[in-house]
C-alpha cells in the first residue's frame, strides 16, 4: 500500500504589509507547511504506523522552487518515507498557479508514484482555491471525497470509509472506492511536532527533484487562464467604537458596556 500526500508551502503575510504592484513585499512574507497539509501528513503517517506488517509507504510531493524543500523536509521529519519536488523555472513566470494546472503537474507525480491513496489538504491558506484534490482525482481518473474529517481505511476491501464535514455541524458518511484522492480537513487528528530525531532522519531521506517534463507534463501546454490584474487590502467596513487607555481602563469601559446591555448586574 502506498499513500501520496501532497503538500504546499503556505505564503504567510504579516499583519502589517505593503503591496507593490501585483506583489507583496518579500520582507512581509514567510513560508510554512500549509496547515491543512499538516493534517494530511499526520493522517498518512498514522496509517503507516497502524499497519502491523509495515507495508505502507508514505510519499510526499510538492510543487515549488528549491526554497520549498524546507517545507517538504518537515513532512519527512514527521514520518513520510520519501519526497518528490516538481519544479521548472518557467513556472515562476505563471501568474496564478490555478488548481487545474496544479492537478496536471501532480498527475505526473501520481503516474510515477502509483499510490493507492492520495491525501491533500482541503485548501491552501494563501490562495484558498480548495479545488486541487478533486481536480487531480478527475485528471488521473481516481475516485475522491472532499473535506474529509474522519477516515477508516479497509485496504483489503479497497474502500475508504470517510466522514465529510458539511456545514452546520452535520457530517456525511461516505464509502469511497480506492484508488482515491481525499482532501483532508483540519481537526481530523492532532498533527505531531517533528522530533529532533525525525528532523535528523529527514536530512537523509530521498528527495527527488523532477521537472514537469520528466514526469511527462509539457509546461508550455499548461495554459493558465487566470490572470491577476490587481491586489488590494480590503476596505475596512469597520465602525467599531474603540475603548482606549491601558488594559485596566479598557476593561472598565467594557464592564460599563456589559452593564448597559443588561447581561451583567451592575
Amino acid at each position: 500500500m502506498r499513500v501520496l500526500v501532497t503538500v504546499k508551502e503556505d505564503e504567510v503575510v504579516d499583519d502589517e504589509f505593503e503591496i507593490d504592484g501585483l506583489d507583496i513585499g518579500e520582507q512581509y512574507v514567510s513560508y510554512e507547511l500549509n496547515e491543512w497539509d499538516d493534517y494530511a501528513v499526520e493522517e498518512a503517517v498514522q496509517l503507516s504506523e497502524a499497519d502491523e506488517d509495515d507495508e505502507v509507504e508514505v510519499v510526499t510531493a510538492t510543487i515549488g522552487p528549491e526554497r520549498s524543500e524546507e517545507t517538504i523536509r518537515q513532512a519527512l521529519a514527521k514520518g513520510a518515507d520519501r519526497a518528490v519536488r516538481v519544479w521548472d523555472d518557467d513556472l515562476a513566470e505563471v501568474d496564478v498557479l490555478d488548481p487545474t494546472m496544479k492537478a496536471q503537474l501532480l498527475a505526473g507525480v501520481v503516474e510515477e508514484v502509483e499510490p493507492d491513496l492520495v491525501l491533500t489538504g482541503v485548501q491552501g491558506g494563501d490562495d484558498a482555491f480548495g479545488a486541487t484534490g478533486v481536480a487531480l482525482a478527475e485528471t488521473v481518473d481516481y475516485q475522491w471525497a472532499a473535506v474529509v474529517n474522519d477516515l477508516d481505511l479497509d485496504a483489503d476491501a479497497g474502500v475508504a470509509s470517510v466522514h465529510r464535514e458539511l456545514e452546520g455541524g452535520v457530517e456525511e458518511l461516505t464509502d469511497v472506492d480506492l484508488p482515491a484522492v481525499l482532501s483532508i480537513q483540519t481537526g481530523i487528528n492532532e498533527p505531531r511536532y517533528a522530533s529532533l530525531r525525525g528532523i535528523r532522519q529527514a536530512q537523509s531521506k530521498p528527495l527527488d527533484v523532477h521537472t514537469p517534463d520528466e514526469l511527462g507534463v509539457d509546461v508550455a501546454e499548461l495554459e493558465g487562464k487566470l490572470t491577476l490584474t490587481s491586489i488590494a487590502e480590503p476596505e475596512s467596513e469597520s465602525d467599531t467604537t474603540l475603548f482606549e487607555g491601558d488594559a485596566g481602563e479598557q476593561a472598565e469601559r467594557l464592564s460599563d458596556l456589559l452593564e448597559d446591555e443588561g447581561v451583567v448586574e451592575g
Partner: protein, 317 residues
C-alpha cells in the same frame, strides 16, 4: 451562447439558502453577458426543489430525477450533460462543501477555467472575479481568459432572490452511468450535541487562536464564570481538542445569536463571521487593529488579551 447555468443545492429534504443566492448572482451575470439564467436541480424530490428555487430572474429550470441525496458522480455527470445540451457561457456553482466535491471535477472534465470562492464579479466582454487570499488580508482581482468559465461563489455574499418566479420546469433525461459512481453516501451524523447548546445562549464569551496554549484557557473559563456567560470558540480551539465540537461557532459549527458576543483573540475568518454576525452586540478584543473581526464589531479593544482578560475578570469577581 451567453447563457448562465447554475446548480441548486439541497440536503436532507431542504433546498439550501445558497440556491437563492445563486439565482441573484446568476441573474446579474446573465444580464451582463446578455443571456438566460438556467437552474439545474439534481436528485431528491426535484419537483419540490424546482418549485422552491423558482424565483424571479430564473428563465428555465432543468430537473434531473436520479438518486436521493447529493452524490458527486451523479452531479458531475448531470451537470456535464446539461452543459453539453444548453451550451451556456458560464457555469455557476456554490462554494460549499458539496460544491467543492463536484465543481473542480466538472471544470476539469469540461476543460473550463475555474475560479473558486468568488466574492464579486464584473463582466466587460470578459469575466473578472474578486477573491480573498492570504486569509482575507488581500483581495485579488482575476481576469478569466477565454469565452467560457466555471466559478464557485462564496455563500452569503449575494442576497437571496425572494420574489416568486414563473420559469418553465423541464425534466432533463440525463444518461447516468451507475458504473462510474465510485462513492456511496451511507448516512448523516449530527456532531454538535453535548453538555451545552451555545445557539441558545444570550451572552457568549468566545475564544480563538490568540489564546496560544491550552493552559491559558483557564483564564477565559474564569472570565466566563465571573460574567455568567457561556464559553464558545472559533475553529482552531476545537481542532486542537481544547474544547468539544459543540462549543464551535461558525460555518461548520453552530450559528449563534446572543445579545452580547465577546470575541477574544479571534481574527474573524469568514467562516467564523458566518456563525456570529447575527449577535445584537459584538465586542472584539484583539491585538491586530486590522483583524477582520473589527469589520463586524460594535465595540473593540485593541490590546493584549493576556492583560485585558484578567482585569475584566477581576471587576466581576
Amino acid at each position: 451562447m451567453s447563457d448562465v447555468l447554475t446548480v441548486a443545492e439541497h440536503r436532507q429534504g431542504e433546498l439550501r439558502p445558497v440556491s437563492h443566492e445563486l439565482v441573484t448572482a446568476g441573474r446579474e451575470l446573465a444580464d451582463a453577458s446578455g443571456g438566460d439564467l438556467h437552474v439545474a436541480v439534481i436528485s431528491g424530490d426535484v419537483d419540490a426543489y424546482a418549485e422552491a428555487v423558482n424565483r424571479a430572474g430564473v428563465d428555465a429550470i432543468h430537473t434531473v430525477d436520479h438518486g436521493e441525496e447529493f452524490n458527486h458522480d451523479i452531479y458531475s455527470q448531470a451537470v456535464e450533460q446539461l452543459y453539453a445540451e444548453l451550451d451556456p457561457q458560464y457555469l455557476v456553482m456554490p462554494h460549499t462543501v458539496n460544491g467543492l466535491d463536484y465543481a473542480p471535477a466538472v471544470a476539469t472534465s469540461l476543460d473550463l477555467p475555474l475560479a473558486t470562492d468568488v466574492i464579486d464579479f464584473s463582466h466587460n466582454g470578459s469575466l473578472s472575479v474578486t477573491r480573498e487570499t492570504y486569509g482575507g488580508k488581500v483581495e485579488a482581482a482575476i481576469e478569466i481568459e477565454g469565452d467560457n468559465a466555471a466559478v464557485t461563489l462564496r455563500p452569503t455574499e449575494w442576497e437571496q432572490a425572494t420574489e416568486a418566479g414563473d420559469a418553465a420546469v423541464e425534466a432533463f433525461d440525463a444518461a447516468i452511468d451507475e458504473d462510474a459512481v465510485g462513492s456511496t453516501v451511507t448516512g448523516f451524523e449530527e456532531v454538535a450535541g453535548g453538555d451545552v447548546d451555545i445557539s441558545e445562549a444570550d451572552f457568549i464569551v468566545s475564544i480563538g487562536r490568540g489564546i496560544e496554549e491550552e493552559e491559558n484557557l483557564d483564564m477565559v473559563w474564569d472570565l466566563a464564570d465571573a460574567l455568567g456567560a457561556t464559553l464558545a470558540s472559533s475553529r482552531p480551539i476545537v481542532d486542537n481538542g481544547w474544547l468539544p465540537q459543540n462549543r464551535q461557532v461558525g460555518q461548520s459549527g453552530k450559528v449563534v445569536t446572543p445579545d452580547v458576543y465577546i470575541a477574544i483573540g479571534i481574527s474573524g475568518a469568514v467562516q467564523h463571521l458566518a456563525g456570529m454576525s447575527g449577535a445584537d452586540t459584538i465586542v472584539a478584543i484583539n491585538e491586530d487593529p486590522d483583524a477582520p473581526i473589527f469589520d463586524v464589531a460594535d465595540y473593540g479593544i485593541v490590546g493584549d488579551l493576556f492583560e485585558v482578560v484578567p482585569e475584566l475578570t477581576e471587576l466581576f469577581e
